[in-house]
């Protein structure tokens, strides 16, 4: 039984079923990150997929942009409680990037310029659920929001959508990333409110 906070009324109930538990709507696009924003020159940018056997696949910026893209419109949910509905991105599906990668791995460790990491089961990157995004609402993604390219995995809390993405290591075992070793949930499903470890 929840404690009633005397005199608290709250705002009009919002979101129409699109808001996971404990989240509220924002029209802003807040920023959450742990350190300075890395500035990544697209001339030097590359994206790498490394398999559990050590085989590496690389894409330059020009090669990424030459791949078929999608323009998903998705709701995003930050563990700090804001949600933003109907955001539109342009990016390359991980299905495309992983198409010719031979792997039997079950897990992925995503790493970024600047040293950030986050982990997730490989299957959460497949079947149209994840993109390497390079445009947001028709514009280039600004560095503060993870540009030039970020991972977009909207069905998980947004810290899994690593900014400044640089590569993915495919692993046989789960390897916790940055926030996952700092007390946050290993999987992070907003609809099950998996914010912190063991939620």
């Amino acid at each position: 039984m929840a404690i009633i906070s005397r005199g608290f009324r709250g705002r009009a109930r919002e979101g129409g079923g699109k808001l996971p538990p404990g989240q509220y709507l924002t029209d802003d696009f807040p920023v959450l990150s742990a350190g300075p924003t890395p500035r990544v020159d697209t001339d030097r940018w590359e994206f790498t997929v490394e398999t559990e056997s050590g085989q590496a696949h690389r894409w330059s910026w020009a090669e990424l942009l030459a791949l078929p893209y999608e323009t998903p419109t998705v709701d995003i949910h930050c563990v700090t409680k804001w949600s933003k509905l109907g955001t539109t991105w342009r990016g390359v599906s991980l299905d495309v990037l992983l198409e010719d990668v031979e792997s039997a791995a079950d897990y992925a460790l995503v790493h970024s310029y600047g040293g950030y990491t986050t982990n997730l089961p490989l299957e959460d990157l497949l079947d149209g659920k994840a993109w390497i995004a390079y445009r947001y609402e028709g514009e280039e993604i600004t560095p503060a929001h993870g540009g030039p390219a970020r991972l977009l995995v909207p069905h998980l809390y947004f810290w899994k959508s690593a900014k400044w993405v640089r590569g993915i290591r495919l692993l046989d075992e789960d390897w916790p990333g940055f926030w996952e070793t700092a007390g946050y949930h290993d999987y992070g499903d907003p609809w099950r409110e998996q914010r912190y470890q063991d939620d």
Binding site: A2, I3, I4, S5, R6, G7, F8, R9, G10, R11, R13, G22, Y24, T26, D28, P30, V31, L32, S33, A34, G35, P36, T37, P38, C78, T80, K81, W82, G114, G115, A144, F178, W179, T181, A182, G183, R195, Y196, Q197, D198, D199
Partner: protein, 241 residues
């Protein structure tokens, strides 16, 4: 690690910091303790069962079953007007935490520390300053506190006479007090380079404030030669990010 449980928190005291911000002292039976820099989730439930959550930084170090939050009223906000205007001593909210294992200061650390606060972002940094005092730490601390005008200062009395080994630099962006040497204006590299703690000292840097401020301050620190890996940031704002 156990799941973070929701606990009942009762308001036991209020301190007004500015006309739009107050510190809430809450008693939380069973509170497990925390590190300076960590935050908590607060859950409010209305009589009709509607509930909502927000995150707030802890303003002081671990003190038995008492925790302190400093809350800035956000015009038009859903939760902060309740916490800063409606809530009275004896009222209850739910709280869980502590949360966050990155933007923290360990009392045993001896490394010099550079704290950079923008407005309400001073809250978790004040927790570090207080934790240093509580622990009797001699780690050199420097706080650079950027604020719009003197009326916006949190913890004004406490920071007027800083602890030994704590250097406080104020940066007023809009209006400075009479006779204040520095002209009002945004934070610059010179403010951060200021009195000592150059990058060669390799201080641990903690930056907290609104997103624009944090972006700028972190960029200035990097340009001054601070190692990006030693700069920890926390964004603070009406939207909780």
């Amino acid at each position: 690690m156990r799941r973070l449980a929701w606990r009942v928190a009762e308001l036991t005291a209020i301190r007004e910091e500015t006309p739009t911000a107050r510190t809430l002292v809450l008693r939380v039976p069973g509170w497990p303790g925390h590190l300076a820099g960590q935050h908590v989730d607060v859950r409010l439930t209305a009589e009709d069962g509607y509930s909502t959550q927000r995150s707030y930084s802890l303003a002081g170090p671990s003190d038995g079953e008492h925790v302190e939050l400093t809350v800035q009223r956000v015009p038009g906000g859903e939760v902060s007007p309740y916490l800063t205007e409606v809530m009275e001593v004896g009222d209850q909210v739910e709280l869980r935490g502590p949360v966050g294992g990155w933007f923290v200061w360990e009392p045993a650390a001896k490394t010099p520390v550079l704290l950079v606060a923008g407005g309400a972002g001073v809250v978790p940094l004040m927790a570090m300053i207080r934790a240093r005092r509580t622990a009797g730490s001699r780690a050199p601390f420097r706080l650079v506190y950027s604020l719009r005008d003197p009326g916006q200062a949190y913890y004004a009395d406490e920071l007027r006479h800083p602890d030994p080994g704590l250097d406080v630099t104020r940066v007023y962006t809009r209006t400075a007090p009479d006779g204040f040497a520095r002209r009002p204006g945004r934070l610059t590299a010179a403010d951060l380079a200021g009195s000592g703690r150059p990058p060669e000292y390799e201080p641990d840097c903690y930056v907290c404030g609104p997103t624009g401020f944090v972006e700028k301050a972190a960029e200035l620190l990097v340009s001054l030669g601070h190692e990006p890996g030693r700069i920890r940031t926390e964004r603070f704002g009406p939207t909780g990010g």
